[in-house]
């Protein structure tokens, strides 16, 4: 970091400038000197500096005035004031003006060395912080891009996001698999005061009860076989941020009780622990299931249900908002063209027609995968019907007359499985859904594949 750190020394005494320059150059910094405030400002026109050492008493523009001019032009710079005639009043004035410290000439070697270490550590933290903030803003822009909305239905969703984002209220996001519930959750987090805090996501459907419990609450060393060291849970990690629980309908009643207590008391115990752990997090949860019937059946606790869905956001399925399909397809096309380096300009009219009339049971995720596949196999400058023929246009809903959604889903799953020679994993990938979701659908529709083990 030192070699890339630029320092400017401003002092009307040439010997001081030279001595400081010699010291800093030996310490590996890049140094520039100026004999007056005016000279310093001339240099500042074209160059940026990380650290300034400014003498307070100089003819013409004094150090205090130069400090304010530097702070106006380069607010991130660290300014250290120097004086041969130390007084508390000037020190206070300098610190109020934004100086990081104040040194009396000549300096004690220890003082200069420690001050530089401190300033460098501070600069390094500032740099890290700004990199993280930039990354977050990029992420924010990314999330916004994916949540491309042309339909009124989605506009309404994002109006609610804008409204409830800054509040602390728990939000339940509902919608079919693949509609982008996780992205909406992230958008809510980014709109909140906790945007610079952590966003911790847990897919509750993918974990067994005991693993989920340990994942959420953490555990102490020796809490169970294999707990060789203490581990922080996701609730703890989400402190000052957002906890996103996906597939909340899959959580067992036992874990629901523990979560409810943690939500109400803002504290919980790690598995095997006796000391309470405090965590201040906002809960956003999501499910593709209708939770009310589960509550009635006693498979989902009523108190937990009301605690988690203070605000409900329903994300409509892609087929319910066909006007979003072309802009989303364009967005994914751009993204995969960038990734693959292919020269593709867009979609033919026929291709757009195909995409718009398809039912998209896997929703946005399926659309994304379809576009990725089309980009990979395309050979021309446009994506046409040829690249989308695996969508089975013969079974397109518009060409088949009115059919139920369930019938369409069964047909689509079967044709995709056929294309994938019965391989469930590959079919799930093509459909844009998890393998477990596809298996569940197969069971529900009592379908079988050659991939299933006897």
């Amino acid at each position: 970091m030192k070699a890339s750190t630029n320092i400017m020394v401003v002092d009307d005494e040439k010997t001081i400038c030279e001595a400081l320059m010699a010291w800093f150059v030996k310490d590996g910094y890049r140094v520039e000197t100026a004999l007056s405030g005016a000279d310093a400002l001339d240099i500042l026109e074209n160059r940026r500096f990380d650290i300034f050492l400014v003498d307070i008493k100089m003819p013409g523009m004094d150090g205090i005035e130069l400090l304010s001019r530097i702070k106006a032009q380069q607010p991130d710079a660290a300014v250290i004031m120097m004086t041969a005639h130390g007084s508390i009043q000037t020190a206070v004035e300098a610190m109020k003006g934004g100086a990081v410290d104040y040194l009396c000439k000549p300096f004690d070697p220890d003082a200069l060395s420690l001050l530089m270490e401190r300033v460098m550590a501070h600069k390094s933290l500032e740099k890290e912080n700004s990199v993280l903030k930039e990354r977050l803003l990029e992420e924010q822009a990314g999330a916004a891009e994916v949540c491309i909305v042309h339909s009124d239905a989605m506009r309404k969703v994002f109006e609610v996001v804008e409204e409830v984002g800054p509040s602390m209220a728990p939000v339940l996001i509902t919608g079919e698999t693949g509609v982008g519930k996780d992205l909406v959750a992230r958008a809510l987090h980014l709109k909140s005061d906790r945007a610079f805090g952590p966003f911790v996501a847990v897919n509750c459907g993918a974990l067994s009860e005991s693993i989920l419990e340990s994942e959420l609450f953490g555990h102490e060393k020796g809490a169970f076989t294999g707990a060789v060291k203490t581990r922080r849970g996701r609730l703890e990690m989400a402190d000052n941020g957002t906890l996103f629980l996906d597939e909340i309908g899959e959580i067992s009643l036992k874990v629901q009780v523990s979560l409810l207590r943690a939500l109400e008391e803002k504290q919980f115990l790690r598995l095997g622990g006796s000391e309470p752990v405090y965590s201040d997090f906002r809960l956003i949860s999501a499910t593709h299931r209708d939770l009310l019937p589960l509550v009635k059946e006693g498979r989902f606790r009523e108190d937990f249900f009301y605690r988690t869905h203070v605000i409900t956001l329903h994300i409509p399925a892609l087929r319910e908002r066909p006007e979003d399909i072309p802009p989303l397809a364009d967005y994914f096309l751009k993204r995969y063209v960038e990734e693959t380096g292919k020269c593709l300009e867009g979609f033919t009219g026929k291709a757009i027609g195909l995409l718009s009339s398809y039912a998209w049971p896997g929703n946005v995720r399926e659309l994304r995968n379809v576009i990725e596949r089309a980009v990979v196999i395309s050979k021309g400058r446009m994506i046409g019907a040829e690249e989308l023929k695996f969508l089975n246009p013969g079974e397109m809903p518009l060409e088949q007359g009115p059919r139920t959604l369930e019938e369409m889903e069964i047909d689509h799953i079967l044709s995709t499985l056929e294309l994938c020679n019965g391989n469930i994993s590959r079919a799930a990938k093509n459909l844009g859904i998890d393998r477990s979701t596809l298996t569940r659908k197969l069971k529900r529709h009592r379908m079988s594949t050659c991939d299933e083990k006897p």
Partner: protein, 194 residues
């Protein structure tokens, strides 16, 4: 003297080994043993042939009555101006030296130049061996600057900046591998092209 073991950065076996690369110039009255230890360490650790010249008078031209100290920068200019002699000059003095920005320095040198100075004034200890070891460390550090090496952040490297005796005593009498390599390259280049 502790730790006189050496990596010997410059492998001198040819005829140039006989000629001196560096003159050690005592300024005023200086313990001759301290000079010998410095010369021995420069030879054993950096491979620099150092010869000890007769003492010169106290550098009164550099005395600053206001600070009751000697200006290290002025002494360096004086040493650099000496006609004849070896390419590098190392002044050793029992005087309190300073630079315009620091209250005192243990040593000072011209980065990439040809003059350096070591002060024995602030490194006193009842154990003479410790004084000699400190003098050798300061000399090696300043000669490191002389051949163009800047301060090093690696812990336990002689090119780290020592602002007090505690830090100086905590350093071993050697360079880290990166500084050792850099010193060997710089020395080979400088001594081949005087």
């Amino acid at each position: 003297m502790r730790n006189l073991k050496p990596a010997n950065l410059l492998n001198n076996t040819g005829p140039e080994a006989i000629s001196a690369h560096l003159d050690i110039i005592p300024l005023g009255k200086v313990d001759p043993l301290a000079l010998s230890v410095v010369a021995a360490n420069l030879k054993s650790i950096m491979g620099i042939n150092a010869r000890i010249l007769p003492p010169r008078p106290d550098p009164l031209y550099a005395f600053m009555p206001m600070r009751n100290q000697y200006d290290a920068g002025k002494i360096l200019l004086h040493l650099a101006d000496i006609k004849d002699g070896a390419r590098f000059r190392l002044g050793v003095a029992h005087l309190d030296i300073f630079t315009p920005i620091l209250t005192f320095v243990f040593g000072e040198s011209q980065l990439g130049g040809n003059a350096a100075i070591v002060s024995l004034f602030r490194i006193h200890d009842p154990d003479p061996a410790l004084i000699y070891e400190r003098a050798a460390k300061i000399a090696l550090h300043e000669i490191g600057h002389l051949i163009g090496i800047v301060h090093c952040r690696t812990p336990d490297c002689l090119m780290g900046f020592s602002s007090n005796l505690e830090r100086l005593d905590g350093l071993p009498l050697r360079f880290c591998s990166a500084c050792e390599y850099e010193a060997s390259c710089c020395l080979s280049r400088l001594l081949k092209n005087p």
